[in-house]
């Protein structure tokens, strides 16, 4: 399908289009120059999003492995605004261990998970968030694994920023992603979206009927309340910033990543600096 002069590989009606519009709005409205953004992705339909952006840096890596690459790029260049876009399979399945470690490491990057509760690009298998009992081409007897709850897992791990939003509400989507991007530390945003081809249960309408913004007096710093909220799923699905814990990021804590220029700019050709290294061995 053609859009913005590009041949876009998504199905007509895909939830990714709303996400792409939102990301474009976010980048356009931001004070950060485009060339200071780095969009990193894994593999899947969601992971193609960075390639449809203009003027930003892109590293489209391996399935499940976007987070390690993104964290290292941020460590290498603190001046980059690093955002990861990838799907539920990529981040909650293949890359699960990296998600746990990224939450613990708390590098200042943002992870946007396109969560449509199904594998799209490989054509319809269950994802970690697919509901119990759902039959698919691969789970012909129905899904027997308990669905992964990314929000509860993130709160349990004391993730620095945990939010959920929905592609059916552009303003909510943009503002949530913006808040995540401006949050200092690792931010997880789970974006509920339809898959028009392979998920006949969790449709746009299904989500639309269920999502509910968190009340104005909701306190995202209350971890126990956040955990309770994170467990809500079914007739009512809370969206918004579920949990925040402001604390120093990995970069803040690391003595090497101090006020000097970003790592990539530190380049020394004065060999005298290394004489002590050889003296040590003599």
């Amino acid at each position: 399908m053609w859009k913005n002069g590009m041949d876009i590989a998504w199905c007509p009606g895909c939830g990714n289009f709303a996400l792409l519009d939102a990301v474009n709005r976010l980048v356009e409205s931001s004070d950060i120059p485009r060339s200071h953004f780095l969009y990193v992705s894994g593999i899947g339909q969601a992971a193609k999003l960075p390639l449809y952006l203009k003027g930003v840096n892109v590293l489209d890596g391996l399935h499940g492995r976007a987070l390690p690459a993104a964290q290292a790029a941020k460590i290498a260049n603190r001046e980059l605004t690093v955002v990861v876009h990838s799907g539920d399979g990529c981040n909650y399945g293949e890359g699960g261990n990296h998600l746990l470690a990224a939450i613990r490491r708390n590098v200042d990057i943002t992870l946007i998970v396109h969560d449509n509760q199904v594998y799209g690009l490989t054509k319809g298998q269950a994802s970690p968030t697919t509901a119990l009992g759902t039959t698919t081409v691969a789970q012909t007897l129905g899904v027997m694994l308990e669905p992964f709850n990314p929000m509860a897992a993130a709160v349990a791990l004391d993730c620095s920023f945990v939010a959920r939003t929905f592609v059916g509400d552009q303003d909510h989507l943009v503002s949530t992603m913006r808040a995540a991007m401006h949050h200092h530390g690792f931010s997880l945003v789970d974006v509920l979206q339809q898959c028009v081809t392979f998920n006949r249960v969790n449709t746009f309408g299904w989500y639309k009927e269920r999502v509910q913004s968190l009340p104005d007096d909701y306190d995202p710093t209350d971890r126990e309340a956040a955990f309770k909220t994170a467990l809500e799923w079914g007739d009512h699905i809370p969206i918004g910033v579920l949990y925040t814990h402001e604390r120093p990021s990995y970069e803040d804590l690391h003595p090497v990543l101090d006020d000097q220029p970003p790592l990539w700019q530190r380049w020394n050709t004065d060999m005298a600096a290394y004489t002590p290294l050889l003296d040590e061995l003599a």
């Binding site: 780095l38 990193v40 489209d60 890596g61 391996l62 460590i75 990539w264």
Partner: protein, 560 residues
């Protein structure tokens, strides 16, 4: 002059301390050292043996016949029996120094009240090692003040006051002075293993980011860099697994820093998909595989040269890589600098094939001249690329000018999917052909950057070797210069074949000598040249090749 001395005990008995004291003393006295460590994969018990070869000329391999043996536990004696074939061996002339409380009874043994006196003087029987060290120095004809200086250097400050009298008492024992090692002048040398040499070279090359996951014997490099991280501004990150470590390497390098990853074969297995990612995205990365015997967990603390085919073929699809295999710690430093330079210049992964022997063996080697080092990041400068900038611009050499994010205003787009010149995913099949050709043609110029193999000796029998086997082969060819000739590689991929073919055509007999069971390098030569090497000589018991081991086999083959 060539003395082999072995200190052997159970893990946790302080073998390392005694070994370090001896090595420091002998190095400071001006002798060339090769210090091998043979140990079991455990924290207490088992075997931990340090063997020092002390010589008045430069050597790079072990000699397994013991001249001096210091056993710290009777349980280790069977490992060192004459003819055991794996560990340093007792011979008829071996002098034995031991603690009278150890219950050891060997011919020619000098039994000393080491733990008894250590306990009396310090309250701690473990100081017996220092007592034995004193006796050893007496045996080697080394003055007490030199031994004391070494102890001050090696022992922790808090132990020195109590331990120095133990040393003096050990030195005062009635031990016959079997050698008299005069002080020699040895300047311009260092004592290093390949983990230190690779780590130091990485720092000199400008490494700013290390990602890895602990795995013996690859962890030595991580530990070395971690110990120097703050001083030299390196972020050392222990990743959640090797998959993360390798993908971090790609992310860091994409963003413009020089990185390092080190592991062993099992960890490398997890890095293979990211290796392919580096190949597709043309991201320079440097990975060290410190080989150990496999398959699977294998022998974690032993050595082998059996990952050659594996690292040559690792990664799905076809992409350019370079593989170097250091001969010695000295060589490891130089090849590490070269790996950084060429991986940046050609935007390819560079793999350094080390092994446990190289990683753990301390060798006296020539100190590197930092004045010879010229660094280049090979990033594109303004005016050397077309605008708008395209990360994968087609060029005659196949190398596209490389920018990193925020180096200029131009965005840098890298993609693991097949992509066009701009870096955007493309399923156009004409583009696919162009991109495959572009990526692969970089190998032509890369090959020209590599050195010819080293050739030694003038005999009719040609030995072919690579990597850490060098020390043993060099020694043997020096012993039999009229019988043997050696052609030895330290850059194994891409493979430079001209010199090898010339040598092979003149040889009466060609024998591939390798630390593996299937003669992998001979197989590579056959694949690349069509020339089969008929005779092979391998070692796969997990111990390093030695001149004595190869010599015995060559005798059996009636070559010498």
């Amino acid at each position: 002059m060539d003395i082999t001395l072995t200190i052997s005990g159970e893990a946790g008995q302080g073998v390392k301390t005694l070994g370090s004291l001896a090595a420091r003393t002998l190095f400071d006295r001006g002798y060339f050292i090769v210090q091998d460590e043979s140990y079991h994969s455990r924290i207490r018990g088992g075997l931990d043996a340090i063997t020092l070869r002390v010589s008045d000329r430069e050597r790079h391999a072990m000699r397994p016949q013991m001249d001096v043996f210091i056993p710290l536990a009777s349980s280790v004696l069977p490992y060192h029996a004459a003819g055991n074939g794996h560990e340093a061996e007792l011979g008829p002339g071996t002098r034995v120094l031991c603690d009278s409380a150890s219950g050891i009874d060997l011919p020619g043994e000098v039994s000393l009240p080491a733990s008894e006196r250590a306990t009396a003087l310090t309250g701690d029987a473990r100081a017996a090692n220092v007592f034995l060290f004193g006796a050893l120095c007496r045996m080697l004809g080394i003055p007490l003040d030199q031994a004391t200086a070494a102890a001050r250097n090696v022992l922790p400050q808090r132990l020195q006051e109590t331990n120095l009298p133990v040393l003096a008492e050990g030195y005062a024992q009635p031990v016959m002075e079997a050698w008299s090692l005069p002080e020699r002048r040895l300047s311009g040398y260092v004592l290093a293993n390949a983990s230190q040499a690779i780590g130091a070279a990485a720092i000199v090359a400008g490494v700013r980011f290390y990602s890895g996951y602990p795995m013996t014997p690859g962890s030595g490099i991580m530990n070395y860099l971690a110990a120097h991280a703050e001083q030299y501004g390196i972020v050392v990150e222990q990743a959640e697994d090797e998959i993360a470590a390798a993908n971090m390497a790609v992310g860091a390098s994409y963003a413009g820093v020089r990185q390092m990853v080190s592991t062993s074969g099992g960890g490398f297995a997890l890095m293979v998909e990211a290796l392919s990612l580096a190949g597709m995205t043309e991201t320079p990365i440097v990975i060290v595989d410190a080989q150990r015997p496999a398959p699977a967990t294998g022998l974690p603390t032993r050595t082998e040269q059996a990952d050659l085919w594996y690292v040559l073929q690792a990664g799905h699809g076809e992409f350019v890589r370079m593989v170097s295999a250091p001969r010695t710690p000295e060589d490891a430093f130089d090849l590490t600098l070269k790996a950084y330079d060429l991986s940046s210049k050609y935007q390819i992964p560079a793999i350094i094939l080390s092994d446990q022997q190289l990683a753990d063996t301390l060798v006296t080697v020539r100190r590197w001249d930092l004045g010879d080092v010229h660094l280049n990041r090979h990033l594109a400068e303004q005016g050397t690329y077309q605008e708008p900038y395209q990360r994968y611009a087609l060029t005659p050499s196949g190398v596209s000018p490389r920018l990193v994010p925020m180096q200029t205003e131009w965005p840098v787009v890298a993609d693991s999917d097949e992509h066009d010149e701009s870096g955007h995913l493309s399923e156009d099949l004409d583009n696919r052909e162009r991109m495959v050709e572009k990526r692969l043609r970089r190998q032509r110029d890369l090959l020209m950057e590599l050195d010819d193999p080293l050739v030694l000796g003038g005999g009719p029998t040609l030995l072919v070797g690579w990597g850490s086997s060098f020390g043993a082969l060099e020694e043997l060819v020096q012993e039999y210069p009229a019988d043997l000739r050696l052609v030895h590689f330290n850059e194994v991929w891409p493979l430079k074949t001209e010199r090898l073919l010339a040598e092979m055509s003149q040889a009466r007999m060609v024998i591939a000598v390798e630390g593996n069971a299937t003669a992998q390098f001979a197989g590579l030569i056959a694949r690349e040249t069509g020339q089969r090497i008929e005779h092979t000589l391998g070692r796969w018991d997990g111990r390093p090749l030695t001149a004595a081991f190869i010599e015995r086999r060559l005798h059996d083959m009636e070559v010498i």
